[in-house]
């Protein structure tokens, strides 16, 4: 049996038709599970029409609580009725391309079936152990192997700060989007400035002042951040302006212009700066980015949401090898040569997965190499 269980209509248009059904129940077979409208919990992800007339949820039909994807109609169907169940567009979109992935649940079930049991290297193992190692593996793979980059398009408010995304683990890239839609990479401030974690208020002797609970009093505003926000970016980047043409003006910040010692390439860019403010839990941007559109690309650990818990099929075998090694290496009395064998197995398969997922295509490399004869100007 093939792995695809949906019909073309179910996949492409998110529709399933039921003809000649009698009784009150139909069961849908989409890859996507139907979701009912539950107040303050969820919105329905599908609609139902009967003979071309849109039905109303709860009045005309309801989704079974006990049986998955079973729709129960208030009025019994007769054989001439035509029922059309249609997924809404976000549900259809999230199903597109889903064949690229395997769910973590399937990985665990496959592992239990294929690697655990009598006469196998792992004769018995708690399923929760396998789930733990599978999820840990997915987390580790998410950081450097999987294509699990999330991105958000955001507008920088006047406060120059945006909160860190809920499922954020680390950033990949932050870009400003210019008027042409081209992304221009924004760089971290690195050593230019910082965001202090604590802002203790001091007395005249420099000793932090405590409140009635014995805790340090903290200032609301950081002086460092205020100064940074008010700084003129051209002072750092070396951006040349018409009124700065006096080469004999030796103000310290003009030394960055390259008149005397050349530009510092690290700071010679005009796209702006960002930093992570751990105290406020925000991404903070330089003042020239106010009201600009930025795209924040970051990695998550693949476990934040249920729908995230999916593994690219190209890394499936690496995940099995990871679980195998993790279980064998933590199990008492496993011979060390077995542990080492699976350690190497894991490393080799993870390397394969990284190569596969790095998405290197010969034609694309050839295209890049076409620039080999172009002169590079320094």
């Amino acid at each position: 049996m093939g792995l695809i269980t949906e019909t073309n209509a179910q996949y492409y248009s998110g529709q399933q038709v039921f003809n000649g059904i009698t009784g009150n129940d139909i069961v849908c077979t989409f890859n996507t599970d139907l979701v009912a409208t539950v107040a303050n919990v969820s919105n329905s992800n599908y609609s139902v029409t009967k003979n071309g007339v849109l039905l109303t949820e709860t009045t005309d039909y309801s989704l079974s609580i006990t049986d998955l994807n079973k729709i129960t109609f208030t009025v019994a169907l007769i054989s001439t009725d035509q029922i059309l169940v249609t997924l809404n567009q976000p549900a259809i979109n999230s199903n597109y391309g889903s064949y690229e992935y395997i769910s973590i649940l399937d990985v665990v079930n496959n592992f239990m079936f294929a690697y655990v049991g009598m006469d196998k290297l792992i004769p018995r193992c708690k399923k929760s152990d396998i789930i733990f190692h599978a999820k840990r593996g997915l987390q580790e793979f998410s950081y450097d192997t999987l294509k699990s980059v999330n991105s958000q398009e955001l507008t920088i408010p006047p406060s120059l700060s945006i909160p860190i995304p809920q499922d954020y683990v680390n950033y990949v890239r932050v870009s400003r989007i210019d008027e042409s839609g081209v992304q221009r990479i924004i760089y971290p401030v690195n050593n230019l400035t910082t965001s202090p974690k604590f802002l203790p208020i001091q007395d005249v002797n420099g000793i932090p002042i405590q409140d009635s609970f014995g805790e340090n009093n903290e200032a609301n505003q950081s002086i460092t951040e205020e100064r940074w926000n008010e700084e003129t970016q051209s002072n750092i980047t070396g951006e040349f302006e018409d009124n700065d043409t006096n080469v004999y003006d030796w103000a310290w910040w003009k030394l960055n212009f390259g008149q005397r010692y050349g530009l510092d390439p690290q700071t010679s860019q005009g796209n702006g700066w960002f930093q992570i403010n751990e105290r406020l839990g925000t991404f903070s941007f330089s003042s020239d980015l106010a009201n600009q559109v930025v795209v924040l690309e970051y990695i998550s650990d693949g476990l934040a949401y249920d729908v995230d818990s999916k593994v690219p099929k190209m890394a499936e075998d690496a995940l099995y090898a990871h679980i195998n090694y993790s279980i064998l290496s933590t199990r008492a009395n496993t011979p060390e040569y077995i542990v080492q064998r699976y350690k190497r197995d894991r490393a080799a398969k993870l390397r394969n997965a990284k190569i596969r997922l790095s998405n290197i295509k010969l034609d694309e490399i050839v295209q890049v190499f076409r620039g080999k004869s172009k002169w590079l100007k320094f």
């Binding site: 599970d33 649940l105 079930n109 399923k127």
Partner: protein, 250 residues
Amino acid sequence: MAINVNTVYTTVLSILNKEQRGYLTPFEFNQLATQVQLEIFEKFFEDYNQYIRMPKTDVEFASRMDHIRDEFQIFEENKNASSVSGNVYDPPTSPAIHRFGSAFFTRAKGNPEIHIVTRRDYHEQILSPLTQPTINNPIGIYHKDKLTVYPEVASPAVTDVKFNYIRKPADVVWAYGVDSTTGAFIWSGTAGAPTPFIPSTGSVDFELDDSQQTEVIIGILKYAGVIIRDPQIVQSATQLSAANEVNTKR
């Protein structure tokens, strides 16, 4: 296939009556037969455990493990819970559980197995965010003949949980009618047997596989020898049984 109760009874009587060693009444036979059936039935599981740990073969008809599974598969049941309160499910009552095997959660796709844990393990497991029970990975605590399943689901129903278990074999009964002329006991399964039958519920065959017929007869003879106080029968039956045991475990 089950063992015919009349075949066993008549065979036992034939052996016992040889040289007028004694007679076994239907009542005594029924009790002994039930006892022997239970003994052999309980031994299945110990034997199965031993076979699992022995070298195995996949050759058809030669696998002891497959063979013994065939013998007790008839007692395996897969039934819904009998009642539910919150997330506590009572096991089936008809037939009742003799050995609990596994339980499956039908509220999730593919009916995943409910992983049975101790209460201590449960508390450890729920402390880890990665191993929280979900409907796709349900866990349960089997305690005082009740199964508490996590996570708790809305609108619980007895169909949520299916129990896979071994039931106890039914009591063996050799029922008979009394011939009004000769006073002889006629087996209820005989064509034209006189009625009413004693007991009125009729005969119940052994549920064991017919490959166990010899074991059953030897077992009954062993007990019958005790009843009729014939050490020779007890000794012979015990020797035969031991020889059989040695052969199958070699």
